[in-house]
């Protein structure tokens, strides 16, 4: 398996680096993983010298895989499409534990205290909760939404302060808050009629607002977790009113949305625009025309710029929005199928997966120069260990 894309000498080098890692003390602040979606493997990467340290194989179907980190930032929990939940030791570059917990999954989250890992499943529709250390099952929350027992696909699962998880029911148009204060007996609060087909969601960096993007209608659903009694409110209703929707060849993502000062940036659905929301009042401030259907809309950590990638047929392009002028300031073409972008914690570098070029590119975010290009087998998501310390990541 190791030799799939890696020439023998690199494998040997990785092995040596790996063995070296075992015998040396190091932190994980500059480590991360890159998902190799087709091979079912991940690369452990290091951002100081911009290199791969190890390849970990045997993770199953990693299409649409995502990851969260343990609170000590040593372990990455990788959520695979096939229901696999794999706990990877990024220091030792190996699988610590792995279970297959459902038939079809979409993502997961880790609780504020790091004790529980939650996975959102399409099949069977619902959320399953596991002990973060042992991956032993702790609780199950079936997303049953009608009297006949139908279960919804679950999307937009995030952690919220107070050992809670918040998620959306795609088929039912609902948002649920699960309180895991008593892990074996989750308390669920349900909000119905939140909008048509929530497809993904995010939580603001301080953990107060949960915002679900709606596929079935123009608009977003907003829940204030400080004041849940006020219910879910629709924001930016009908942002595409009167315009014919353009084809969406890839669903946008809400995770990693951009909050820059009072402004939030989100992808429009079916329009080649990034929507700018004023967080004072949650109304539309501007719409920024971009080259295609936005997929990820990510703020550089200093919030001075917002980087955007796109669905087919514009998925070779990244556009950068200047937050001061609210206009595109730069267009880059890293290569075929730019799937994901991840900034280093302080934002001096951005790591970009270029799937169809089998490469991860690293750019300097001040000069926009390419600093490195790492070989990777059909790379998709990039998840740096600094995510361990952020609410909602």
């Amino acid at each position: 398996m190791m030799t799939r894309r890696f020439p023998a000498f690199i494998t040997v080098a990785l092995l040596a680096a790996n063995l070296g890692a075992c015998s040396q003390v190091r932190g994980t602040g500059d480590l991360g993983i890159v998902v190799e979606r087709a091979a079912g493997s991940v690369l452990v990467v290091e951002t100081t010298h911009r290199r791969a340290l190890a390849q970990v194989n045997g993770l199953g179907d990693l299409s649409h895989a995502s990851a969260v980190y343990s609170r000590d930032a040593r372990y990455a929990y990788v959520f695979g499409r096939d229901g696999g939940l794999t706990k990877i030791d990024v220091i030792e570059g190996r699988i610590d534990r792995r279970i297959v917990q459902a038939g079809n999954s979409i993502g997961g989250a880790i609780s504020q205290d790091g004790s529980l890992v939650a996975v959102s499943n399409y099949e069977p529709g619902g959320v399953r909760i596991f002990d973060a250390e042992s991956l032993a099952p702790v609780a199950e929350i079936p997303a049953v939404y009608d009297a006949t027992g139908r279960r919804s696909k679950v999307v937009g699962l995030v952690d919220a302060p107070g050992r809670r998880f918040v998620f959306s029911l795609y088929d039912a148009g609902q948002i649920w808050i699960a309180d895991l204060s008593t892990p074996s007996a989750p308390k669920i609060r349900k909000f119905a009629n939140i909008g048509n087909k929530p497809y993904d969601a995010l939580i603001t960096p301080e953990g107060r607002y949960y915002v679900a993007g709606l596929y079935g209608e123009d608009g977003l659903a907003l829940l204030d977790l400080w004041q849940p009694d006020r219910g879910v409110r629709r924001i930016l209703p009908g942002y595409g009113r009167g315009e014919e929707s353009l084809p969406v060849y890839k669903m946008p993502h809400m995770e990693g949305w951009a909050v820059a000062g009072d402004l939030a940036f989100v992808p429009a659905v079916g329009r080649h625009e990034v929507l700018v929301i004023d967080r004072n009042g949650w109304h539309e401030r501007a719409r920024i025309p971009v080259t295609g259907q936005p997929v990820f809309v990510m703020a550089r950590p200093d919030a001075r710029e917002v980087w955007v990638n796109f669905a087919l047929p514009d998925n070779d392009t990244i556009q950068i929005i200047d937050v001061q002028t609210l206009a595109v300031s730069r267009t880059m073409r890293p290569g075929k199928a730019v799937l994901h972008m991840e900034f280093t914690p302080r934002g001096e570098q951005v790591w970009v997966s270029v799937r169809d070029e089998n490469r991860v590119d690293v750019y300097d975010t001040a000069s926009y120069e390419k600093l490195a290009a790492l070989p990777a087998d059909k790379p998709s998501g990039i998840f740096l260990a600094a995510r361990a310390h952020r609410i909602g990541f």
Binding site: R37, S63, Y122, Y249, A337
Partner: protein
């Protein structure tokens, strides 16, 4: 309804015609598109995700022209987009056959 009738008729007539084999290079591109781009909703192994599974078992009994119509025109009210700007009718029919596994061995895929 009238336009739908003509679409169905045209599709039916097309199905009677012999489908020319696509160039090998285009076939490879379509297999790649299927795994990686269709796969973002239907799963890398087409076992389903936000969209339904597209395995030979689940597609058994569905006819290729109808599947090609779905590929080309999408499913209104769902995230399935119309692919007609990217995939021709002939290519959509090839994809349908390929997914059903009736004319191509899946193991030769990427």
């Amino acid at each position: 309804m009238a336009s739908r009738f003509w679409m169905v008729l045209a599709t039916a007539l097309w199905s009677l015609a012999c489908v020319a084999e696509l160039p090998a290079e285009r076939q490879a591109q379509l297999r790649h598109l299927l795994s990686h781009d269709c796969g973002s909703c239907h799963g890398l192994r087409l076992t389903g995700g936000l969209g339904p599974p597209l395995t030979p078992t689940t597609l058994a009994g569905k006819d290729s022209p109808a599947l090609a119509t779905i590929i080309r025109h999408g499913v209104p009210g769902t995230p399935m987009p119309p692919w007609k700007a990217i995939i021709s009718d002939e290519e959509a029919r090839w994809l349908a056959e390929f997914m059903k596994g009736t004319s191509h061995d899946r193991s030769t895929g990427p």
